[in-house]
Amino acid sequence: MKVTWGWLADWVDLPPTPEALAEVLAMRGFPVAAIEQGATLDPAIVVGRVLEVSPHPNADRLRLCSVDIGASKLSIVCGASNVAPGMAVAVAQIGSKLPDGTKLRKSKIRGVESEGMICSERELGLSAESEGIWALPGNPAVGGPVQAVLGTGDAILDVEITANRTDCMSVRGLAREIASSGRKHVKQAPPPPAPEKAPPPRVTVEDPRDCRRYMARVVEGLRIAPSPDWLKQRLEATGFRSINNVVDVTNYVLRTHGQPIHAFDASRVDGMEILVRRARAGEKLTLLDGRDVALHPGVLLIADRKKPLALAGIMGGLESGVTDATTRVILESAEFAPELTRDAARSLGLDTDASQRFIQGVDPVGVATALDETARLLAETASGAVGQPATDLWPGKTPPRSVRLRRGRLTRLLGIDVGRDVIADALATLEIRQTAPWDGTDEAATFESPSYRKDLEIEEDLIEEVARVVGYDKIPARVTGGQVAAGWSGVPSSASLLTRIMEIACGLGFDEIISNALVGAIPPEVTPESGPTDLWEVQNPKSRELKHLRTSLLPGLLHAAGRNLRHGVREARLVEAGTVFRASPPPLGSERIEIGFVLTGAPDPWAEPSGSDDRYLELKGAIESCLEALGIDSRKSAPYHDRCWARDAGLSIESEGKKLARLGQVSLQLAAATDLERPAWAAVLDLLAIAEVAPARRRFTPLPKYPAVKRDLAIVVDRAVRQGEVEETIRRGGGRLLESVRLFDVFEGEQLGSDKKSLAYALVFRSTERTLQDREVDQAVSDLVRALGAAHGATLRGGVESAAGRP
């Protein structure tokens, strides 16, 4: 909420500067987002009128302007493109001082003397940025100070008000806080002028639950005119348009007191009689803004005997509104029921300043003050004659709320010991009165809140009030040592596992990305098998782009990879960990954490001189590394297909019957759906499955005592035979002595025959008990060759070599 310094100063003594005031407000819970200092310009910065604009002889971008400043004509060099003859401008004369402190000196610009400067709004400190020079509004007097155009130079504070403190959405509300902070009092409003004879209208409230208080008063003899400058300036400075004196006064009272005031043209109110009643089905009303609304019994009306006049607490009707011809008004100040106002406004699609105030709840006591103040201001600004004291119906009057406060509770919550008197005095500054003395046993007292403090409901609310008055800065900062509850590990194992995986992935050269969980269309490739009903769809999306919760990390990763390649990056190696969602089972669906990898583009030729176009093995190697780093055997795999992967290009890595990872070449359709026009390889790891098989702790294995015997074994098999199966046969057939198997070459060539391939393995044999003898190993190898022959039709290629022969 914007408020000006002078406006606040009408109601309370202020700290010395706007900055000091901002600090006071912030420490009360009302941070000041901005202070716009009213500009106080050097009087030597004057209004000038541009007479002539001609090109600068030595510079294309500059212009030479002849400017009339009343007493003389100046020749000024100007760089702005918007300068034009006839324009009223701010001229800083030689010797004048700009707001940033620079003093203007006589100078030559590109060889031409400039006798001053035509200023932009930025140069005058009026705005943070500006384009070109400032064209002064209106028709200011040439030669006069520019300050006169700006007005009084009242500082404007933009104060943030929290949702619980709607009582401070007004100048007086803030003034009360400032007064409390300075242990002072808010000033009283001057009394309205002595009433004349005009009687108030008759008022009937149909249901006191709808309208808790209703006051009305007449002001006559009005002359509708523009508002006086002070009123205009205050409204405009705080973001409101000035309309005319009567409308402006009601708006001003709203900003000052937080109380909406409505003015009816009294000549349009039949019989000077006002009914506050529910609308009847079928009734219609044309609103002030020209809109016609169809009414229903959920709407409260202000009506006369014949017709609806206004939507109570929301908006006036056009017909009974103030016009230029209005001379007599009925002023309404009321408290309408918040829920009723909210529901009615919502049902009609209306949201007005007034409705917001009534929904938040106005101060029932302030209804009277605000009405008096309106009458007084109309007398002052529109030469109105104030009628007899108001009609006042207050059927919904409630006693003040009392809350008990225990001193011990306060100490336990705040961590400071505050004495009884200090508590009572602190609350008294906020007009929260102690109504019963402290009682002995639990040191409790009862306090009564003022009518405008609807937020003070429980003991803790009062404790906060004491803390605010004492000052949050007076609360000591303490760090208590303490233990996490027993039996609690501190970090869930899946969370630490995820951290490890991501660190390993980064070590393997993958960059972590974070993409949105809310996505647009879900590509069919990642639509769950259970069908589109298993997708979460947002009922109130921001846009079509953000409608679904993702079911897979792949689209986001591929999309990011494609974007980066288009930016000219050679290769994208990306990893992401995140939640993926399914809508079943009800009610909350299911969430899983996946880790996705994508590899696409070309490797750096310097780093990988022999880089291949097919990067499947590179990606697979990374995934194997990652799993091995977690102590997981990643050797067991099976062909895997879903629509994410190109035909015959998907694989799953399994352990203990769980699918830990799916990987392969991304299908063209999925790549295309994510705007990636390159082959890409990807993998998806399932965190939960990995957590189930990853050993929590590694156990020590004794280091080998006896030497190993190495053998290289090259076999020839049909091309269609899968290496994984051959390796499995070797592993199973190698016996206890076989320590490790590693493929080191795959060879295809004419000499083998076109449908054959050779696989070469490095085998390591070792016993934990003794040094192996060659013949034992030879026996094991020949058993293996037989097993391979039986299982895969493998034949030996070129014999078994002792590994020493291989570099």
Partner: protein, 340 residues
Amino acid sequence: MIERLDALETEAARAMDAARDGGALEEARVRWLGRKSELTQILRGLKDLTPAERSSVGARANQLRESLERRYEESRARLGADGGPSDAAASRDLTLPGRSIPRGHRHLISQVLAEVRGIFHGMGYALAEGPEVEDDAHNFGALNMPKGHPARALTDTFYLRPEVLLRTHTSSVQIRVMEQRRPPIRIICPGRVYRNEAVDATHLFEFHQVEGLYVDENVTLADLKGTLDSFLKQYFGPNTEMRFSPSYFPFVEPGAQVEIRCFFCSGKGCGVCGPLSGGWLEVLGAGMVHPNVFRAVGYDPERYTGFAFGAGIERLTMLRHGVPDIRLFYENDIRFLHQF
């Protein structure tokens, strides 16, 4: 035979002198003195020669071997004790770039999350997680925001079904933990949250929060202030100046807002803290857990007190690392990712 030995001597000496590094010298040794070298063959063949030849050739061959061995030792000394090159720069360009080994980068948000987790872990806080798809009761109801509460209108919530939504804060995790455990509780709940907000340089519809909760029998506002002061000093630096002032959140009472003095301009006003804001940057919201929240999870508010706090991870990151636009975190531009 003697002539052959003379020729060997010349060739071998040249080879050893020419060796520029240990490897080349070793090659020369194997070639000229090794088991398969011509000289060794000749020495081995001595037994097949006539006694006269054997004596003359033998003497010459043995003398040659000694001289070559000496030569070898000299060359070794010349190349340095480790046999390494003494003037390698002449033979290879050491300024060639190293073969780059790809190095991945953790996302800056993840780095900050890990650091924040670590700081609170050090203060005895356990990590708690919960679902991102939440029900109304955990996201609002139990947090003192019953249906119709005005504070609900402040949060623009994405709804999936009438009672199912995307959590708007990780406070829902606090409720889930309190439903399952008895105090004492010290947890932080980091995670992704969703708000249906207009996107600009400081707002996104998805972002990360970290919230904390400490419940025990005598937890006070002073403990909250001390904890947050300690966190901010660890995260932003030991000279961080904190301002602790009243604020409002429905699930705490008293409520507090925590700001730090802008460390870019020390409070004079700048592009980060706003030219006119007096140099305070809002970083955390906090307060004492509202008794209605305790009642909702079956804790006795007379017995237990507690504090809760929350901060936006993106905001903490932007402030400390000078990232001007929150959208950069989700664009995943490698040029951005590689900066951290």
